[in-house]
Amino acid sequence: MSPPAMPTKEKTTAPALAVNGLSLPPPQLHPKIQLEEEQENQEHPSGLLDSIMWMAAPKKRRTIEINRTRRRAESKLIKVKNNIEPCLECGHLKQKHVLCGFCYAKVSRETGLIRQQINAMEGGPLRTPTVETVVLYEGETPSTQDKDKRIVERPRKRPAWFSY
């Protein structure tokens, strides 16, 4: 096969590109206007809904195996806690660095009742006397330390956890 006849004069109007086999069309005269026209043709109805050029989308459906390996990875499983111990006072479980929930509830119930008593004594807001308060239970007399203090009486036996 004879090689194709080469033209004797290879003269192009525009500067030739060094790389062979380029897919882009060769640069033409009046490049700016033609480039804009091409862009318009390529980008179809220019709107947010149908711009296929720049929105990322998944190419394939993620299989259940891939999904499972991601969801069940070691980092996503719940870690077992090793800081749970029984409370020495009540025997319920507690975390080492946290107060026992049962004991806290027990104490807050009693403090709530004391606060109700104090509200009943005061009768309204902003009537707190400017002296200290001491809580006394059944059968208790104020000691020498409690001389100038306001006494709140609670009609029950002193709870074991409420020391003097």
């Binding site: 969801r71 499983l77 719940i78 077992v80 806690k81 479980l93 975390q95």
Partner: protein
């Protein structure tokens, strides 16, 4: 798990209506007994986990190993996601009941509180009706969650589009077995080495004389 439809709303509604029409037609035409290739039992009830407690074994012979007591318990239609419930179910698999209850008590998830109630109910059932002597001598043999019946609601998107939102429900199943939890056997290095050497020795040449 919430479905989000981004297609045109009207066509979607038509398709959905078509689906419901088709299913109702099928149910009217066929009697359950005739459609034996759909499911083998004649009834559509799938509450089989509760039925496992009713199974009665024949009395054991004196030389047989003691069959450990089992109790199956479940809770249906919990307002929680089955995928989120799975993480908790996976955590307590294989634990003793006390350990499992302790872990669930200090877990902050919504399903942990429900799961703890189910475990305590099952423990009580085991002691009262399933001939378990010590309530602490139980371990979690099986624990898993499954999908309940979802409610469908409409979720409004912009531009008049809508999607159907699923209000998720799940079931939770647990099986407690009497006895300490089975420990996974620890293989020493010597055992592994011995096994490896044995595998090498067991190699044989096929089609040889």
């Amino acid at each position: 798990m919430a479905a989000a439809g981004t297609g045109s709303g009207f066509v979607f509604v038509r398709n959905v209506c078509g689906l419901f029409r088709d299913s109702s037609r099928l149910a009217v035409l066929a009697r359950p007994q005739q459609l034996s290739w759909f499911h083998s039992s004649s009834s559509l009830s799938t509450k089989n986990w509760e039925k496992k407690n009713l199974k009665v074994f024949p009395p054991q012979l004196p030389e047989e190993a003691r069959r450990p007591a089992e109790v199956h318990h479940c809770r249906r239609q919990i307002k929680y996601s089955k995928d989120k419930m799975w993480y908790l179910a996976k955590m307590i698999r294989g634990m003793s009941i006390d350990e499992a209850v302790a872990q669930l008590e200090f877990n902050d998830k919504k399903g942990a509180k429900i799961m703890k109630e189910v475990l305590l109910e099952a423990q009580e059932m085991a002691v009262k009706t399933h001939n378990v002597e010590y309530k602490s001598n139980l371990h979690v043999a099986e624990s898993f969650s499954s999908k309940g019946k979802y409610l469908k609601r409409i979720r409004y998107h912009g531009r008049g589009m809508f999607g159907i939102m699923d209000k998720v429900y799940c079931h939770y199943f647990v099986k407690l077995v009497e006895g300490p939890p089975p420990r996974p056997e620890q293989k020493t290095g010597l055992d592994q080495a011995r096994e490896y050497v044995q595998k090498l020795k067991d190699r044989t040449v096929i089609h040889s004389l």
